[in-house]
């Protein structure tokens, strides 16, 4: 029997409501926000018509925070409170940051991630990045005229778990719903591939301000499959500036100089680098705080010589990625250049030489990542109905566990397609052992000390048994964002101690709320208002999603009794979400989720069957 569906008054039943979604390129040097409007990717501009937002955050004496060009203009005058290239600090400890002595900040060594002491207090890189994201969020909401459903934030493909988690935390702190973390080269490939109708194997060479990525993708009928990725998350255009800066110090025989002078000369170095893109020589001039005058001429020949080792550092990972993908140069159809630093002629030359073909530079290397992210955000928000775009990305670095003697046992090898899960069994090595400590690391080296430590946790409550009798299964799951969760349980005794581990450097929900509260600097009810608003949004989304699912499959997959049960739960949630008890709403969301569990399972099953239906007649050989 057919059931008539009647929309409740006041509830939108419009199936094609356009949801506001954006792609954000959170860059080392510049950040951008883009969206898809009437089918076209567009970068959103600020009120002065600028697309780029310099990734510079300044904490002012009056307590205000300045982001972008205004902050950038003050960086030489107020270097210790003006944070430039904060992306290089994301998810990094103080010892992970190369050239830390050249940076004009007051660093604080904190567990997990370095912090910066500013006049506004101690700031974590997550908070500083959130400052940049907030400006972009406001820009987008102003331009689009409404609250954002969500955002896709791009990260370097070679970012490890800590750097990804930090980025996601920053977005949440900025009040953004993260639809997905997307790898920058993959985003670029989407923008390029869709624009050019490309098919075949492409390489994306992405040299940004602070990070280098190489990704090899197979493009086939709208499926973007990453075959291998490699890179260096501490190599970028900034390093080219620093080479020029060091050359200036050498040429002028300068003594160690003040933070202000360092910032001034780094800025001059960057300007000279940019000038050399179209000119044979650049003049560097400036007056230092002690009155000393710097006036030098840098030729492109000298610049090439200074930076040859940096260019060389990008070619090793490129060859490795090719080898990992099992490909040779003849297989490569095109090389897409991404990132402002690929404007440097010596980079283009080196890439052309390696691949024996001219690299593709027809897209603006500054914008292509944000545009690709916007396209993906549009798909994830459900605005695009045709199912022809799919991104299959990989984990950039292997995940492993510490074993006896400080060695790493790899559990998930690099370049595994996401999502991926792998289980590993362990046993006890002493009689009666009841606890076991597990250390998760990420990296390619054999020694634990050479890899990045992600999490340490203790598995307790193992029933006492003879050595070697316990069987503890540890499962690693890496989701589509490239983020890891670990669970463990003892199996042989039937005792299940199931734990889920969040890596130690991530922020807890409470920490996020506390930071938000501090930034609002107001009363307790802010927290409650926010919690209520979040619960209501959750409820709205769930109701909307289930309504859509019922419209499509309710009749086919549910009997009238089951349908009735789900609908009455939905009614209950609708009623509650108009009241102001956030806990009651959360509980109702949870129980509606549970009530639709079997429906979800049947829907997934149906879509698996449908995906390959009818295929076996034509394409399979029996």
């Amino acid at each position: 029997m057919a059931l008539l569906q009647i929309a409740e008054p006041g509830m939108s039943a419009a199936p094609h409501q356009h949801r506001l979604a954006v792609g954000i390129d959170l860059g080392t040097t510049n950040s951008l926000v883009a969206t898809v409007r009437s089918g076209m990717g567009t970068v959103l501009l600020d009120e002065h018509g600028h697309a780029l937002l310099p990734s510079v955050v300044r904490y002012l004496p009056d307590g205000q925070v300045e982001v972008g060009y205004a902050a950038q203009a003050q960086q030489s005058l107020d270097p210790q409170n003006t944070i430039v290239s904060v992306k290089r600090l994301m998810g990094r400890g103080i010892h992970d940051i190369p050239d830390i002595g050249h940076l004009p900040y007051r660093f604080i060594d904190a567990p997990g991630m370095v912090q910066v002491d500013t006049r506004a207090g101690i700031k974590s890189p997550v908070e500083i990045s959130a400052g940049i994201l907030k400006v972009l969020k406001n820009r987008a909401e102003k331009a689009l005229g409404g609250e954002l459903t969500g955002a896709v934030i791009t990260v370097p493909a070679y970012f490890d778990d800590a750097q990804r988690q930090a980025t996601k935390d920053a977005a949440r702190l900025a009040g953004l719903t993260v639809l997905r973390l997307l790898n920058e080269p993959t985003a670029a490939a989407v923008a390029y591939g869709l624009d050019n109708g490309a098919e075949g194997v492409y390489v994306v060479y992405d040299l940004g301000g602070g990070t280098f990525d190489i990704s090899i993708l197979r493009l086939s009928k709208g499926v973007f499959e990453v075959l291998a990725t490699n890179g260096d998350s501490a190599l970028g255009g900034d390093d080219f500036d620093r080479r020029i800066f060091c050359w200036v110090l050498e040429q002028c025989k300068l003594q160690p100089i003040s933070p202000e002078d360092t910032r001034l000369l780094l800025t001059k170095a960057r300007e000279a680098k940019e000038w050399l893109t179209d000119h044979m020589e650049a003049r560097l001039t400036g007056i230092l705080s002690n009155g000393e005058v710097v006036d030098l001429t840098l030729t492109s020949a000298v610049f090439n010589e200074l930076t040859r080792p940096l260019v060389g550092k990008t070619l090793g990972p490129t060859r490795k990625a090719l080898r990992d993908a099992g490909l040779t140069l003849e297989n490569i159809k095109g090389v897409v250049m991404v990132g402002g630093a690929t404007r440097m002629p010596q980079i283009r030359l080196a890439v052309a030489e390696l691949f024996q073909q001219e690299p593709l530079t027809n897209l603006d290397p500054d914008k292509v990542v944000a545009l690709g992210a916007a396209i993906q955000a549009n798909v994830l928000a459900g605005n695009r109905s045709d199912d022809d775009l799919l991104l299959l990305d990989v984990i950039p670095l292997s995940l492993g566990l510490e074993t006896m003697g400080g060695l790493v046992e790899k559990v998930i090898p690099r370049n595994s397609t996401l999502p991926v899960a792998r289980a590993q069994d362990f046993t006890t090595f002493k009689d009666g052992q009841t606890a076991m400590s597990i250390h998760v690391v990420q990296g390619e080296r054999e020694l634990v000390s050479d890899c990045r430590s992600l999490a340490r946790f203790e598995l307790r409550g193992i029933p006492p048994m003879a050595a070697g009798a316990a069987r503890i299964r540890v499962t690693f799951q890496v989701d589509a964002d490239g983020l890891l969760s670990v669970s463990a349980r003892e199996q042989s005794s039937g005792v299940e101690s199931n734990i889920v581990v969040k890596p130690s450097y991530g922020l807890s929900e409470d920490e996020i709320l506390n930071m938000l509260q501090a930034s609002f600097a107001s009363a307790e009810n802010d927290k409650q208002v926010r919690a209520l608003r979040e619960a209501q949004v959750d409820a709205e989304r769930l109701l909307e999603a289930i309504t859509a699912a019922l419209d499509k499959d309710g009749e086919a997959l549910l009997n009238p009794h089951e349908l009735q049960a789900i609908q009455s739960q939905m009614d209950a949630l609708r009623a509650l979400s108009r009241a102001d008890d956030s806990h009651a709403i959360q509980d109702a969301v949870e129980s509606l989720n549970q009530a639709t569990e079997y429906f979800a399972s049947r829907r997934m099953d149906a879509s698996v069957k449908q995906a390959l239906a009818g295929k076996n007649l034509n394409t399979l050989e029996i």
């Binding site: 080898r323 928000a381 996401l418 999502p419 899960a421 799951q477 999603a545 699912a549 399972s601 390959l612």
Partner: protein, 176 residues
């Protein structure tokens, strides 16, 4: 779990056998991921998101297993209740052991002399040898159901895969 009833072959609508058409596998993998990938469920209720992640994970695992001939054979044997004993059973025919020693020596020599072309040539030779063993697996698994024989061939292939990995690592170290 959700799809424990389907084996990796069935998941992709392929016959459960060693000889499979790799381009069909590629096609069906992409079709399946297009239907179940978490990106398709970003706005879906939590229950569907969870199912989607599990299915997409299973599809990736199945694809990885079937794409690699050694892993595919190992999996087929496992379905048929045969353990390949790759950790415990190290007995090998003498001629295979000799061959293996020769390859290792050739690799050491080439590595010592930084001779990348020689390593590449060796890699090619081993690929040929792997192909022969894979032909044998097709015969043993699909035609004869000679599982103990197939298990020994899997052990041989595992040896070859290891040497090949070592050669590849040597090449990339020399290229650095």
């Amino acid at each position: 779990m959700h799809n424990s009833s389907r084996n990796h072959f069935e998941l992709f609508n392929l016959p459960t056998r060693f000889a499979i058409d790799l381009s069909t596998l590629d096609q069906h993998y992409r079709k399946l991921q297009s239907a179940v990938h978490p990106d398709r469920f970003a706005a879906a209720p939590a229950a569907e998101r969870l199912h989607s992640m599990q299915l997409a994970t299973q599809a990736n695992e199945a694809y990885r297993t079937l794409k690699d001939p050694t892993a595919r054979a190992r999996y087929l044997l496992q379905i048929n209740g045969v353990d390949t004993e790759e950790e415990s059973n190290t007995s090998m025919p003498a001629e295979f052991l000799v061959l293996q020693m020769e390859w290792r020596e050739a690799m050491e020599d080439a590595r010592a002399q930084h001779d990348i072309p020689a390593l590449d040539k060796l890699l090619h030779e081993m690929q040929q040898e792997s192909k022969t063993l894979q032909q044998h697996l097709h015969w043993a698994l699909d035609e004869k159901k000679a599982y103990p024989e197939a298990a020994e061939t899997v052990r041989k292939l595992r040896f070859l895969d290891k040497v090949r990995d070592d050669i590849q690592q040597s090449i990339s170290k020399l290229e650095e």
